[in-house]
């Protein structure tokens, strides 16, 4: 079984009874709020994205978060990365966390590829020394050496994604969060990315993967957690999880 609860491995991510409710605000200015209050209209609607989620991920595990759209997968990843914080319960992590969450979020179109590599790697938590050391690998992996001093706005979307992904996957991390990786580049590049992710996993990194490509995630991860309506409905072998998803 992919759960190593009896082993000495330390937990990398501990999610304990996490609740996250989004207030869907219907007003966006003082005026609108005031008018809505006078008319006694509802100002907000609550939406329970996560409703009491608990799980522990051990160091070195590869875990797939599965579920249909709106099941809370991406919210869970954002909680682990610290972009949002839980309303109730706690999320605890150990070591450095980096997310391949919508790669290229920190890219600026007016900067060159080189400048973007440094900026983005620093955003993902790397020091200058670490970036200097990995710079050549990042460029080589992206296969866009000849355009590296060109402004990113002149890149094709494929080139852009290659560079962004290449930066993200070379960050120094202990826990790697991956959201929908297979939207990246052409097939050979996707294969290369998957190979790199496996390499990181073999090196003892913890992976948390969100994807709708069930075959890919079940090959990559031994453990699957299925979310539905903000609750964990299954936590165990990823092939069983996929079977449940397809049921």
């Amino acid at each position: 079984m992919p759960r190593y609860s009896d082993s000495v491995a330390l937990p990398s991510v501990v999610v304990d009874d996490v609740h996250k409710t989004f207030k869907l605000r219907h007003t966006h200015s003082v005026k609108e709020t005031f008018l809505a209050a006078i008319k006694r209209k509802q100002l907000t609607t609550d939406f329970n994205a996560l409703d009491g989620i608990s799980f522990t991920i051990e160091e070195g595990e590869a875990v797939a978060l599965m579920g249909f759209n709106g099941s809370g997968k991406s919210t869970m990843l954002k909680l682990i990365s610290g972009v949002i914080v839980p309303d109730r319960g706690s999320v605890m992590t150990r070591g450095r966390i980096a997310g391949l969450i919508e790669v290229g979020a920190g890219f600026h179109p007016d900067l060159s590829g080189r400048e973007n590599i440094y900026l983005n790697a620093a955003i993902l938590g790397m020091s200058k020394k670490e970036i200097d050391e990995r710079y050549d690998d990042i460029v080589a992996f992206s296969e866009i050496e000849q355009f590296i001093d060109t402004e990113v706005k002149h890149y094709s979307s494929g080139m852009f994604l290659r560079l962004a992904f290449s930066v993200a996957i070379h960050t120094e991390v202990d826990v790697l969060l991956i959201d929908e990786i297979l939207s990246v580049g052409d097939e050979p590049f996707q294969e290369k990315c998957l190979a790199r992710i496996r390499e990181l996993h073999d090196a003892g990194k913890t992976l948390v993967v969100v994807s709708h490509d069930l075959d890919m995630v079940s090959r990559l991860c031994r453990r699957g957690i299925v979310l539905r309506g903000g609750n964990v409905v299954f936590d165990g072998d990823s092939t069983d999880a996929v079977a449940l998803m397809r049921a």
């Binding site: 990365s81 610290g82 972009v83 992590t93 150990r94 007016d110 440094y118 955003i123 993902l124 020091s127």
Partner: protein, 289 residues
């Protein structure tokens, strides 16, 4: 939420919980890259580039000088009036830019804030630093003009100018964090800030002299006027750049250093309040943006 964590001993931490401004300075490298990016891209695609940051204040200066110095004859009652005006406009310009851009910084960086965790105070702070980088050459220009008119730098004068810069840096960071955090939920903040910024140049002795305010205001109102942290900041710049050229000797604030100290204290207190409000609202940034 705090205490009683069974995992606390093995290096588990809560992601996304920052120590505020302290974290920003621990991410100095990232801060320097963000500042460099802002400086690089601001005037991308324009022929004059960074010259625009000097054209704008220069035109504003010309307008003020003709209207106030010539038409309203302030030139004849204030010695070296162009220098007086320029020194005050430089410090207010720093405040205006740092505060205005700081307020907008979080909304402008929404894609990043929504997807990756970085200490969010980074954005108002970097706005302030970019404004400071922009202001520094303007101060050099003022110094050159002053030197041309016979000004020589004194250690106390330089100290006054630096103190003025520090007051405005702290004040604009504080207000940038405060209004920036509110602006995430209510964009009204940014329009409100535009008004404050518009008033700033008139609510401090940039174009007129303190003695005129003293003559027109009752004592309590004049004290209130002096408690505006920008008033001592402007006066510190006047002290550093302009006072040595002033022959009348009546245009200076006798309690300059006292009120400068109060201004610094006010700014630091505002910085704490700004940080407090920022942390209160920070948890919702990624959701609201």
């Amino acid at each position: 939420m705090t205490g009683g964590d069974p995992h606390a001993g093995i290096g588990l931490e809560r992601p996304g919980v920052s120590r505020g401004l302290i974290d920003v300075f621990q991410h100095r490298y990232l801060l320097s890259l963000i500042v460099r990016k802002e400086v690089q891209i601001r005037y991308r695609g324009s022929v004059l580039g960074w010259l625009w940051s000097y054209v704008k204040p220069l035109v504003q200066f010309a307008v003020f000088f003709v209207a106030l110095g010539v038409f309203l004859r302030l030139s004849s009652s204030i010695d070296a009036y162009p220098l007086y005006l320029l020194a005050g406009m430089t410090v207010i310009g720093f405040f205006t830019e740092a505060f205005g851009n700081g307020t907008r910084s979080l909304v402008d960086n929404a894609p990043l804030i929504k997807k990756i965790y970085v200490p969010r105070e980074m954005f108002p702070v970097s706005s302030m630093i970019v404004a400071a980088i922009n202001t520094f050459p303007q101060m050099i220009v003022v110094a050159v003009i002053a030197a041309f008119l016979g000004w020589r730098p004194t250690p106390l004068g330089i100290a006054a100018i630096l103190l003025g810069v520090v007051i405005v840096a702290v004040l604009s960071t504080a207000l940038g964090m405060l209004f920036g955090a509110v602006n995430v939920s209510f964009r009204d903040a940014q329009s409100f800030v535009d008004i404050i910024v518009m008033c700033a140049v008139w609510a401090s002795p940039v174009m007129y002299q303190l003695s005129m305010v003293r003559a027109a205001f009752p004592d309590w109102a004049f004290t209130l006027y002096l408690l505006n942290p920008l008033t001592p900041a402007v006066e510190l710049f006047h002290y550093g750049f302009w006072a040595p050229l002033d022959t009348s000797g009546t245009n200076q604030l006798p309690e300059l250093w006292l009120f400068a100290g109060i201004a610094l204290l006010t700014s630091v207190i505002l910085l704490f309040i700004g940080q407090l409000v920022f942390r209160r609202l920070e948890g919702r940034f990624a959701q609201v943006l």
